[in-house]
């Protein structure tokens, strides 16, 4: 096995672990690793990242059913897939530096929101009405049944659309936008937000990956294959750690990742 293969495997493992823990595809870390560390062209790094996003989403589809809010997911998917389809059509239109600036700023804002709302739990009394899009689940942290209601749906729809466009433009799954949004601004508990997001990112990645594939950005599939194997292994590790990880710790991990991403993309300029 070559050094590049090892990097791809490790980067994929990191992405898969993050996917199991916080419901993101790991593209925000994969793209810089594949591009800067492994020296892949940015376009190929994006395409490989999208394969990793699909692998994370597929792994999660087997394990997150109890927490998944399928109705909320399908509603937001209408917007994110529309955004992804539009973004795929405009793939070559803008410069990469523009995308990096927008993403860095967005990551910084979301990180700030998550730090400010670190202790917010988004749960209602057990007899509360969850509404059409809300739901309930058993929270392993507290040992109680939890009810939640989804608020600010138009905002969630707008951000899902933006996440879809970003999926095509910079090769991320969009979970890094969707999870903090659902959790911090829409009243969805973090574990539900993560489970819902991880389904969404896989679906949203499809039009974008098809476009990257059609443009020949996937190369000979070898790096994509190694990364996907890493994702599958990393996901199992993340799933093993997840039950012992507190919600507050998950939020801290995620906010920390966002800060690193913001510094990376803004510092690049």
């Amino acid at each position: 096995m070559q050094t590049a293969d090892l990097y791809a495997l490790l980067a994929g493992g990191l992405a898969g672990c993050l996917g199991a823990l916080v419901g993101i595809g790991g593209g925000v870390l994969l793209v810089p690793i594949l591009n800067s560390v492994m020296g892949l062209p940015f376009t190929e790094a994006k395409a490989v990242s999208l394969v990793a996003v699909l692998a994370t989403s597929s792994s999660a589809g087997l394990s997150n059913r109890r927490l998944l809010n399928a109705r909320l997911a399908v509603l937001l998917l209408f917007f994110s897939v529309s955004g992804s389809t539009l973004g795929a059509g405009l793939l070559m239109r803008f410069s990469e530096s523009t995308y990096q600036l927008v993403f860095g700023l967005t990551a910084a804002v979301i990180a700030a929101v998550m730090f400010v709302r670190l202790n917010k739990r988004n749960v209602l009394p057990a007899d509360a009405d969850p509404g059409m899009l809300g739901g309930q689940f058993h929270d392993d942290d507290t040992g109680r049944d939890v009810v939640y209601r989804v608020t600010r749906v138009p905002l969630a729809a707008a951000v899902s659309f933006a996440a879809g466009v970003l999926t095509s433009f910079i090769g991320i799954g969009g979970g890094i936008l969707i999870v903090p949004l659902l959790n911090s601004l829409c009243g969805v508990p973090l574990r539900v937000a993560a489970a819902t997001s991880v389904l969404m990112i896989g679906v949203t990645a499809v039009p974008s990956l098809a476009a990257h594939w059609a443009h020949g950005f996937l190369g000979d599939f070898h790096v994509a294959g190694m990364t996907a194997v890493g994702v599958l292994m990393g996901f199992q590790v993340g799933r093993g750690i997840s039950p012992r990880t507190q919600v507050r710790s998950l939020k801290l991990i995620m906010a920390g990742i966002l800060v690193v991403v913001a510094v990376r993309y803004l510092g690049w300029r």
Partner: protein, 99 residues
């Protein structure tokens, strides 16, 4: 596979079966593709990895189809139309990129 709170155990098991079968096929495909590459068969490796990628792309399509099936079964036509539209968008995204 996506699952709603009203899933019947038999249907849940069926989805579970399909999901696990697809997942195993992906694992086998990825492993075989990489093994062939290591063994000096890059053409066959690329061929198998590309088909595995097709299978990975099918995962989300099956997930959304599953939600659509649930909503139709519950006669919740609003969500059924949304799920069908998402499937249509996915089909457009895939078919429009075929060579």
């Amino acid at each position: 596979m996506a699952m709603t709170p009203n899933d019947q155990p038999a249907r849940a098991r069926f989805r579970d079966l399909i999901g696990r079968a697809m997942f195993r096929a992906v694992v086998i495909g990825l492993s075989s593709g990489i093994a062939l590459r290591v063994l000096g068969q890059p053409v066959w490796s690329a061929r198998i990895l590309s088909w595995t990628l097709v299978l990975l792309v099918l995962f989300p399509v099956v997930n959304v189809s599953s939600v659509l099936f649930d909503e139709v079964r519950r006669k919740d036509w609003g969500f059924a139309v949304i799920a069908a539209t998402v499937l249509g968008l996915l089909a457009y995204g895939l078919i429009s990129r075929l060579p």
